[in-house]
Amino acid sequence: MYRYDEFDERFVRERVEQFRDEVARRLDGSLTEDEFRPLRLKNGLYLQLHAYMLRIAIPYGTLSSRQLRQLALIADRYDRGYGHFTTRQNIQFNWPKLRDAPDILGLLADVEMHCIQTSGNCIRNVTADHFAGVAADEIDDPRPVCELIRQWSSAHPEFSYLPRKFKIAVTGALHDRAVVKAHDIGLRMVRDRETSAKGFEVIVGGGLGRTPFVGKVIRDFLPEDELLAYLEAIMRVYNLEGRRDNKYKARVKILVHEIGVEAFREKVEAEYARLDVASINPDPAEVERIAAYFAPPAYEKLPAQSTALDAAMKLNPAFAEWVEINGFEHKAPGYVAVTVSLKGIGEVPGDMTSDQMRHFADLTDRFSLGELRVSHNQNLILPDVKKKDLFPLWQELGKFGLATANVGLITDIIACPGLDYCSLATARSIPIAQAIATRFADPVRQRDIGPLNLNISGCINACGHHHVGHIGILGLEKRGQESYQITLGGDSSEDAAIGDVIGPGLTGDAVPGAIERLVAIYLQERREGEPFIATVKRIGQAPFKAAFQHYVEGLRDHAA
C-alpha cells in the first residue's frame, strides 16, 4: 500500500497544526461559528445529535494492521470503545470532544492517516473497488489513480468551496463493486478498442439522495495520463455553473440534468481544450512512483486447490458455508480474498469494538500480509489469504464474533447510523436492520434466498444507498411518527438502477413482515438459479406490489 514520503508527512502535520490554530481561533471568538463550520467539516468533524462525530478517511478503503490498532487506541482513549465503518469506506467515531480533535488528528498523522475532506462542500475521500489489486476480473489496480486523486484534491485552492459535496469513485474491474454510477464522477478503467491503451470511461452526475440519478458517460475513453487535467475541467465547470441558490439542487447531477448531458459535455470539452494539460498532469515518473507502492506482493507459488482446505470443509459444514459465502476469487492461485462480515445477527451494521479491531489487526498480520480493506458494504476484507490458512483464520475470527457467513445475503444489510446518532435523520435505521436480520437469521433460509442487497437509509440523504438496494428502505417522519417507505429493483452493479417505491409507508414494526412478503413472491416465481434481482427484472414490479398491497390491507384490518 502507499506510504507517505517526506512531503506527504509534512502536509498532514501542517494540516493538524492548521486545524489546531482554527480551533483556537474559534474558541477565542475570532472565527464565528458560521466561519468555523466549513473548516471543521473539511477536517471530518460534525456536530451530531448527542455529540461531535469525527469521520476519518480510509482512502480507497485500504488500511494496514498498524492503522487499525491506532483506530482501536483512539476508540478507547477518546470514544466509547467502538467505531462505525461507513458506506464510503470511512470510519466514524461518535463521541469525541472538540478540544480533543487536534490531538486525535495528530495520532492519525502518526500512522499516515487524516480526516481531510471527509465532509464539507469539497472533493471527498475517493473510493474504489474493495477487491482492487486482487480481483481476477481487473484491467488494472485502481488504487494508484485513487492515490493520485487523493493528493490532487487535498486542500485544492480552487475547488474547496464548491456548491456542494463531490464524490469520486474508481473501479478497475469489469464488475462494478464501487457503485461508480452513483457518484458525482465515476471512473471505469477501460482499454482502447484499437490500441488497447489504458484509460477511463468518465461518468458524471450520478448520485442518490433526494433526487437520485444514474450517472451519464461524458467520455468513452480518456487516456490515463490525461486524468487530472480532465478532472480540473469538470470541476471548474461545476464550480462556476452548479446551482448555489438551493442546497438540494446544488449537486452536479442537477446541473447535468438541467442543461443536459450533451451541453455539459460540450462545456467540459471546451474548457479542457483550452487547458495547458502538460502544466497540470503529473510526470510519468510520479505516476510510476505511486504505482510502485501497489505492486502485487510476492505471492507464494501455491497449487490452485488446497487439500487442507478441502478436508476442513468436508469435516465442518459451517466452515464450508462461510468459505463459500464470504470467499472471493483471487487472481493468484492458492489465494483467496475473504470478506469478514460486520453484520452479525442483531449487531449494528458496520460497528466494530476496539477489542475486535486489535484482534483483527493481529489476524491481518498473521494471515493477510498486514493489509485489509474496508468495503462500502460496511464489511472488512482480508485480501491475501492462503486457502490452506482459511480454517485457522475462521476459528480465530469466531472467537471475536467475526465469522458470520452472510456476505451478500439478506442479513448483510447496509444501514446508515440513522436517528440513533445523526442530526439529519428522520427515522432510526439500526433497529430496523436488527429486526430484519433477526427475522431472517436462519442460515439455511438465508442461503436459499441467495444474493439480496437490502439497504436502509434513515433520511432522504440516502447514506444507506437505499435507492440502489434490491430492496431499499427509507425512513421518514410522518406526523411525528417514523414511517418506512420500501423500494424495489434498485441495483448498485454495472447495471445500476434506481428502485421504485412499491406502496405506502409502514411503521417500523411492520417492515420485517413486508420484506417477508416480497421474498415469498421471489421464492414462488424464481427460475432455477435465478437471483432475486433477476426475477424482479424479469417479472416486473406488479406481483410484488400486489403482495405488498395485500399485506398493507391486512395490517389495516388487523388494526381496525
Binding site: 502536509f11 466561519e35 462542500n121 486542500a155 485552492p157 480552487e158 474547496s160 497540470i280
Partner: protein, 163 residues
C-alpha cells in the same frame, strides 16, 4: 482592510460610493456602470462572481484592477473566475472583495489573486497577522499549474533529478 501577501496596505482606488476629489484614474467602477462610463477613463472594475469570462474579454486590456466580489466566503466561484481571467493573460491587479476568511488567503493567492479586501468588521476579528499566518499553513501543495507556492509534485521531480 486591504491586504496582499506582504500584509495590510493602503487602498489607492476610489470606490463607487466615494466622491472623487479629483478626476482620478484610479477609479473603481461597478460592472453594471462600466458601459455608461465612457467619458471617465476608469481603470478599475468590480465584477460579480457570476460574470462570464467571455463578457470580460473586451476590457481585459484596458483595466489595471479587477475586483471579484465574493457575496459569501462559502461561494467559491470567484476562485475559478480568477483562474480564467489569469488564463487569458491578464497581468493587472486581481482583488477578492468580500467576507473571505484568513483560511482562504492562500487559496486566493494561488488562484491568481494579488490582494483581498475584507469588511472592517471581519478585519477587527481577524487582523493582518492572522491572515499572514494562515497563508503560511502549508509549505507546499499538491496541485500543479497554480500561481504561487511550492508544488510537491515538482519537488519530487527535483529530488529524483538530484539523485
Amino acid at each position: 482592510m486591504l491586504l496582499d501577501a506582504r500584509g495590510a496596505k493602503d487602498d489607492v482606488w476610489i470606490k463607487p460610493d466615494q466622491v472623487p476629489q479629483v478626476q482620478a484614474s484610479h477609479r473603481l467602477v461597478l460592472w453594471e456602470d462600466w458601459a455608461g462610463d465612457s467619458e471617465v477613463q476608469a481603470r478599475g472594475v468590480e465584477i460579480p462572481n457570476t460574470l462570464k469570462i467571455g463578457d470580460l474579454l473586451p476590457i481585459l486590456g484596458q483595466v489595471e484592477l479587477i475586483a471579484i466580489r465574493f457575496g459569501a466566503f462559502t461561494d467559491g466561484r470567484g476562485f475559478s473566475l480568477a483562474r480564467l481571467i489569469r488564463a487569458q493573460g491578464y497581468k493587472g491587479t486581481l482583488r477578492a472583495t468580500g467576507p473571505l476568511i484568513p483560511d482562504q488567503f492562500a487559496y486566493a493567492l494561488r488562484c491568481g489573486f494579488d490582494e483581498v479586501e475584507v469588511p472592517d468588521a471581519n478585519a477587527n476579528r481577524q487582523p493582518p497577522d492572522v491572515w499572514l499566518r494562515a497563508a503560511r499553513s502549508f509549505s507546499a501543495n499538491y496541485q500543479r499549474g497554480y500561481a504561487t507556492g511550492v508544488n510537491i509534485l515538482d519537488q519530487r521531480r527535483l529530488a529524483r533529478a538530484g539523485r
